[in-house]
């Protein structure tokens, strides 16, 4: 079975620019997560989708971050405008149910200069 796909793998932008990340979860997985992982830290949840509905976005900086999961499959995370502190790895994960193990993609390493 194919794993979680993410693109791009690396992105370098200047502060105040915008950027978008794409995620394709494992086929059939209803739950999709976006995490932010700063160097030396564990992943921090930004948003959780169940099918195409948002279950938890309490830690998403909504003034600059947005995410959508159209048709309950692919998802896009956007940052606009980016700040220096947004430099991190953005991980997408999916699971068949919120109670079960999560499968992570390789992540997108964002550098904001």
């Amino acid at each position: 079975e194919a794993g979680v796909a993410q693109s791009p793998r690396y992105k370098i932008i200047e502060k105040r620019q915008s950027v978008a990340f794409w995620c394709n979860p494992i086929s059939g997985h209803a739950t999709l997560y976006w995490y932010q992982q700063i160097l030396g830290q564990g992943p921090k949840l930004l948003i959780q989708f169940q099918n195409n509905g948002v279950v938890d976005d309490s830690q998403l900086p909504k003034d600059r971050f947005s995410a959508e999961r159209l048709k309950g499959v692919d998802s896009t995370l956007k940052i606009q405008p980016a700040k220096l502190e947004d430099s991190a790895v953005y991980l997408c994960a999916s699971s068949s149910d919120y109670l079960y193990e999560q499968y992570f993609g390789p992540g997108t390493r964002l550098t904001v200069t």
């Binding site: 830290q41 564990g42 938890d56 994960a93 992570f104 390789p106």
Partner: protein, 113 residues
């Protein structure tokens, strides 16, 4: 606020020994706890899940214990190998939709031959 602490950021052991990693949590009552492995430049990979009513769980050379009284989980790797070198993350969570995994910072294990 909820807090997760994993013992020493780095653990160095010799091949063949047992590695023991500790995960302590406070202000939290998780219904289950997951352990993940993360290699540099990659997303976390699920290893084991243990529920609050399970005291111990094993998978090949891995063993996890969960003590809800001590608010602690121990993760053991027996007969460790250099290939076990990685960062190990613990993630306790409650048993309800919308409750995200909260990851610890991780413990980086180095196994020398």
């Amino acid at each position: 606020s909820q807090k997760i602490e994993q013992n020493s950021e780095a653990l160095n052991i010799q091949e063949g020994k047992t590695a023991t990693l500790t995960c302590n949590y406070t202000n939290y009552s998780p219904a289950y706890l997951q352990w993940y492995r993360q290699d540099p430049g990659r997303g976390p990979v699920f290893l084991l899940l243990i529920r609050e009513n399970e005291k111990e769980k094993r998978k090949e050379r891995l063993k996890v214990t969960f003590d809800t009284t001590l608010k602690q989980s121990l993760f053991h790797i027996t007969a460790s190998q250099p290939a076990d070198s990685a960062t190990y993350l613990c993630a306790p969570t409650r048993n309800q939709a919308g409750t995200a995994l909260i990851f610890g910072k991780g413990t980086t294990l180095s196994v020398s031959s």
